[in-house]
């Protein structure tokens, strides 16, 4: 059996708003194998970041289970959770707003070590900070610099060093390269990949950038309005997308070559409001293949081929006969 470091079952996060209930994350389940990367992709408002935060209990999930190494962490106390956070870390999109502007680089990286009392000796802490800076490729001379003096790429390296400070097993990367220029983006992606290899880290990689997620992930889950609508190994998803939304999403990526392109699928309209959603396929209002089946309840996520899951009402009957129905 696969060694799953994380298992998420029926995760829900609802917010009560003056206009009604907002279903940010609605019944999301998946597993992440140790040492692998699960990519979560989707557009703004699909619930990918909320999923990441609910897993770490940075916001409390409304319902569902999160099993970290077999233990349901939604049930444990805050004190225990705090201890567990040593093993589960997060890297945010905007490295500037996630660090204290009045602390120096060295101070920022040392902070989690001091708070968690990992090392008590001052000299040893300094040594560890220097070591972490070396790992993420920050020059030692920057130890007394402040974040505002550094560019986005270096700030993101601080964010990564800080996440690594406690020797975590599992890191959620929430759009870690979205704010960076392509040449710097590639530097950070390579760094994250090498760290995974060297330290056996497990990642959940949240992004809206499909080329990045394809490059980085072993498995990919595509989210739309709070639900996973398709999940498959990265290669399979890109070669054989099934859900109409995934297909449209993949066809919308502008590719940097001038060879004649595949027909682009243009979707109607925009993402619906996540408040007071009707009990129908979330994608139905924008789908080019909507029929009356789509409005009769939310289609379940079914295994279409080994490890390839799709949630589409048109799947049930046609999957067995015609693959190219869409």
């Amino acid at each position: 059996m696969a060694d799953n470091i994380l298992e998420v079952r029926g995760l829900k996060k609802y917010f009560n708003t003056p206009k009604g209930q907002l279903l940010a994350v609605d019944d999301v389940s998946f597993t992440v194998e140790r040492g692998k990367t699960l990519g979560i992709v989707g557009e703004s408002g699909c619930g990918k970041s909320t999923t990441g935060r609910a897993i770490l209990r940075l916001i409390e999930p409304t319902a569902g289970e999160v099993l970290f190494e077999g233990r349901d962490i939604t049930k444990i106390s805050t004190a225990e959770m705090r201890k567990l956070r040593k093993e589960m870390q997060i890297v945010f999109q905007d490295p500037f707003s996630s660090v204290d502007p009045r602390m120096s680089v060295g101070g920022i990286i040392a902070e989690p070590i001091i708070i968690n009392k990992i090392i008590k000796d001052k000299v040893a802490i300094e040594k560890r900070v220097a070591e972490l800076m070396d790992i993420v490729g920050l020059a030692p001379r920057l130890i007394n610099s402040y974040p505002h003096e550094l560019d986005g790429g270096r700030r993101q390296r601080i964010g990564i060093a800080r996440a690594l400070a406690l020797n975590p097993k599992f890191i959620i990367c929430d759009e870690p390269v979205s704010a960076l220029d392509v040449s710097i983006q590639a530097q950070i992606l390579n760094l994250l990949k090498n760290l995974q290899k060297d330290m056996g880290l497990t990642y959940i990689f949240i992004t809206h950038n499909l080329s990045v997620v394809n490059h980085f992930s072993d498995d990919i889950a595509v989210m739309y309005l709070g639900r996973v609508i398709e999940k498959a190994p990265a290669e399979e998803l890109f070669e054989n997308p099934i859900h109409p939304y995934t297909k449209a999403l993949l066809s919308a990526i502008p590719t940097p070559d001038i060879a004649p392109k595949k027909e682009r699928i243009i979707l109607r309209g925009e993402i619906s409001s996540p408040i007071n959603l009707p009990n129908e396929c979330r994608f139905a209002p924008r789908c080019n293949f909507t029929c009356d089946k789509c409005t009769k309840g939310i289609p379940p996520l079914v295994e279409f081929s080994p490890n390839h899951f799709v949630s589409c009402a048109l799947m049930d009957e046609q999957s067995k006969t015609k693959r190219t129905v869409f």
Binding site: E43, A186, S211
Partner: protein, 331 residues
């Protein structure tokens, strides 16, 4: 020879700040034929937006100063124009779309009035009702239902707002549209919609386009020609075919190699080492030399020469003085 809609020659723009002089644009040369589209590609701080703002004479002064050079739009010298003349030009001959549609729209005026305002500004005789009628037409053209004409910017989503901005920009049927990262703030499926709309409108109105972007995918989609910008200069220029299939400049090669390859997912990325050059410095040599894998000692010492490969394709690079020099190539 066909007519040029824009011709920029040897443009230098500085920002004189308290921390020193920022050399944003350092000898930019750029030209675009009528009806064509040009992609201006480069990373943050390359001088793309400053160049575009110079064409509109929108450089904030102070601290921005156009040091020297010339900008001709449709044969007219922009830099010697009076404020009155330039105002008549903006919106009517040259329009600009910015990245963030919310900050380009007035939150206190309905979108219809904002479109009508441009029309009346350039045609004082136009009646209010006529301008509103034209505004309605423009909304329909960019794919917004005309009954939304009395709505305010905050009632629209990001993609819809960008459509309103496009409607304002195209209301007077300008000859040149400058789009500064118009889809960067949008989701990919919405980006696809907007690019599609822009393509259709260009076909319909025959507008020339300068597309500023960091995304080579968008360039491949919508542009005829590409100028790759680094350190405030065009380091490589050519047709799509030239730049994409026959890449010559090491920086352009670096940009391509930094992108995850959608067809080969396991290939390791090959980023450009180091960081963008500090724009307050004015190195004697090639601005890209410190990050360039091909750089020799000469590259650090003197400015690179212009090397032309064909009528359409040129780079600024020392190494091509050697007849056998070739890039290692892309994956």
């Amino acid at each position: 020879m066909s007519e040029k809609i824009v011709e920029i020659k040897d443009l230098y723009v500085d920002y004189e700040t308290d921390d020193g002089i920022v050399h944003a644009v350092n000898g930019m040369n750029l030209s675009l034929e009528k009806g064509k589209s040009l992609g201006l590609v480069g990373e943050t701080g390359a001088g793309k937006t400053t160049t575009a703002l110079s064409i509109m004479r929108l450089i904030p002064d102070p601290p921005g100063v156009i040091k020297k050079g010339s900008i001709m739009v449709d044969g007219k010298d922009i830099l010697s124009m009076s404020i009155k003349e330039i105002r008549a030009l903006r919106g009517k001959y040259v329009s600009m779309i910015f990245q963030d549609p919310m900050t380009s729209l007035n939150p206190a005026i309905t979108v219809g009035e904002q479109i009508a305002e441009v029309l009346r500004e350039h045609d004082r005789k136009m009646s209010k009702s006529e301008s509103m009628k034209r505004a309605e037409e423009m909304l329909r053209t960019v794919g917004i239902a005309e009954d939304r004409i009395h709505d305010y910017a905050h009632q629209f989503s990001g993609g819809m707002r960008q459509r309103v901005v496009i409607a304002i920009a195209l209301a007077c049927n300008p000859q040149l549209l400058i789009a500064d990262e118009p889809t960067t703030a949008l989701d990919v499926t919405i980006q696809a919609q907007i690019l599609e709309t822009m393509k259709e409108l260009r076909k319909k109105f025959g507008t020339s386009l300068i597309m500023i972007t960091h995304d080579l995918g968008i360039v491949a989609e919508i542009c005829d020609e590409v100028s790759v910008v680094y350190g405030g200069r065009v380091v490589e220029h050519g047709t799509l075919e030239d730049v994409f299939n026959n890449t010559k400049h090491p920086y352009t090669e670096g940009l391509f190699n930094s992108l995850p390859n959608i067809n080969n997912r396991t290939a390791m990325l090959r980023p450009i080492p180091g960081l963008m050059l500090d724009p307050t410095e004015d190195p004697p040599g090639c601005p890209f030399a410190p990050r360039c894998a091909y750089a020799t000692s000469e590259c650090e010492k003197s400015k690179p020469p212009l090397i032309t490969f064909s009528d359409t394709h040129y780079v600024e690079c020392h190494r091509y003085k050697e007849p056998d020099f070739k890039l290692q190539g892309r994956d």
